[in-house]
């Protein structure tokens, strides 16, 4: 292959570029990214960055020395519109790139809430611009409503509470994080109430009201909550529109075999956008780990390795470090094996038959990692 183009210049795209060079690809390497920035780290955006304890420079994933060594052509602020594999081209807003191989790393973006509208004071959080405008808006706010009690919503609520704001989290499901099962979901929910954050579950949002700026969140049960700032955290959708008509199979992301290979030859996908072997993972570690396997298969032109990682993520909320690994089913049995939920410091495991298949820890990274290593794929 003479030219390989990476589309998406964030964690997974940068990791793929690093892997291409590390695995000996010495041809032309093009990196196309819609955002005008060099790759940056998103997790701090809902944590230290919102608190003003981290700034833009702290988010950089790469530096000038590394970029020089990568010898890549960066096309930043450039949107890819399509993929024409017949012609061997990535189509851009401002032209095309002739290419032999493609790494798709276009990630995901926030899901829009029905009735979200475009009032001022309503935010989603994915990019540095999102975080900057939200942070500035919080300076003037007193009451914040977070819609969605997933991990990002919970982190935003935690940051707002730390900033001394009055925070309500609204969750449509009867319990947040239902996938963790009743007991562990309650443990996560309790963190909100521990810190004076109101958690309203089982009520969806019907709409938002206000003139130019949001004033109220209207709930399905007819009630409403006053808000100066609303943050919508109702999940993400994989960014695949640009691939419509490319011939790729797009079902919950770009469909790939277990080695990140798509149905088109010489095209692989990695990170939040990739549905690999039936699983799409939206976590940081996955975006750093899949590229090694994807690049290996791309350069080999065959499936020579499959991804073999157990999904893992962490979340920092209310001074508690939460870590989870595994894939658990509602039928798995969960048990606290160390510490106690009441102390907000524990390790819990999920078992299927007698085998540990998942582990969750609050403030216990050491035991968490020992158990995580033992999890089966």
């Amino acid at each position: 292959m003479k030219t390989i183009t990476v589309v998406g210049a964030s964690l997974a795209g940068l990791s793929a570029a690093r892997e291409l060079r590390a695995q000996g690809f010495d041809g032309r390497l093009v990196i196309v990214g819609e955002e005008p920035h060099q790759p940056y780290d998103r997790p701090p955006l809902s944590k230290d960055f919102l608190l003003g304890r981290a700034e833009e420079a702290d988010l950089a994933l790469t530096d000038a020395a590394e970029r020089a060594a990568l010898e890549a052509e960066w096309m930043l602020g450039v949107h890819a519109n399509g993929l024409d594999t017949g012609a061997g081209e990535v189509l851009l807003d401002n032209g095309t790139v002739r290419t032999d191989g493609v790494v798709i790393a276009t990630g995901a973006r926030p899901r829009i809430l029905a009735g979200q509208g475009n009032l001022n004071g309503v935010h989603t959080l994915r990019t540095i611009e999102d975080a900057l405008t939200l942070r500035a808006d919080l300076e003037r706010a007193e009451r914040v409503v977070v819609v969605g009690a997933g991990f990002i919503g919970a982190e935003v609520a935690s940051a707002c509470a730390t900033r001394g704001l009055q925070v309500t989290v609204v969750e449509a499901a009867p319990k947040p994080l239902a996938g963790l099962g009743d007991e562990m979901a309650s443990a996560c929910a309790a963190l909100h109430t521990d810190h004076g954050v109101r958690l309203l579950c089982g009520t969806g949002v019907a709409g938002l009201s206000g003139d130019h700026r949001v004033r109220e969140v209207l709930l399905r049960d007819g009630s409403s909550i006053e808000a100066d700032v609303v943050v919508i955290g109702v999940g993400v959708v994989p960014t695949t529109e640009w691939l419509d008509g490319s011939g790729l199979s797009l079902v919950n992301g770009v469909v790939c075999d277990p080695g990140c290979r798509t149905d088109l030859p010489d095209v692989v996908a990695v990170g939040d956008v990739a549905n690999v072997g039936g699983h799409r993972v939206e976590h940081w570690t996955n975006a750093t780990r899949q590229p090694r396997v994807a690049v290996r298969n791309l350069l080999a032109g065959a499936l020579v390795e499959s991804c073999a990682d157990v999904p893992y993520f962490w979340s920092d909320q209310y001074g508690v470090r939460i870590q989870f690994a595994g894939r658990v089913l509602p039928s798995d049995k969960v048990e606290v094996v160390e510490g106690s939920v009441e102390d907000r410091a524990f390790v819990a495991v999920w078992r299927r038959e007698a085998v540990e298949v998942g582990v969750l820890a609050f403030n216990n990274t050491k035991s968490f990692n020992r158990r995580r290593r033992a999890l089966p794929l």
């Binding site: 750093t288 962490w314 990274t365 050491k366 968490f368 990692n369």
Partner: protein, 107 residues
């Protein structure tokens, strides 16, 4: 010098964290197969405690994003860490582990 603990309290493969009330910054002390090492406890990448990491020979893997550090030099051996952690001198005298206060910056 600061008394860390008895050598018998830190068997091979174990680690201990010395909090900042005793030193300028928290320090992690490891027993790597019988050799004692000490480095700054906070990972050079983000906020994680290396004393809670996974010890493999004289390398410790960060418990948050799996950067690995060589305890002999403090240098990272893989991403996401790019900067070293400082190392600290330790000595074992009569079965007691002692930490020397001045940290060694990596050249």
């Amino acid at each position: 010098m600061l008394r860390v603990c008895d050598l018998s309290e830190l068997p091979p493969g174990e680690s201990i964290r010395i909090s900042e009330s005793n030193t300028a910054v928290p320090v992690a002390v490891f027993n790597a197969d019988g050799v004692i090492y000490a480095v700054d406890d906070t990972c050079s990448h983000q906020d994680a405690s290396l004393s809670e990491g996974w010890l493999d020979g004289c390398f410790v893997e960060c418990p948050l994003h799996a950067a690995s550090f060589d305890l002999r030099t403090g240098l990272p051996t893989c991403l996401p860490a790019k900067k070293p952690v400082r190392t600290h001198q330790v000595s074992v005298v009569d079965g007691v582990i002692w930490l020397h206060q001045a940290a060694q910056d990596v050249a």
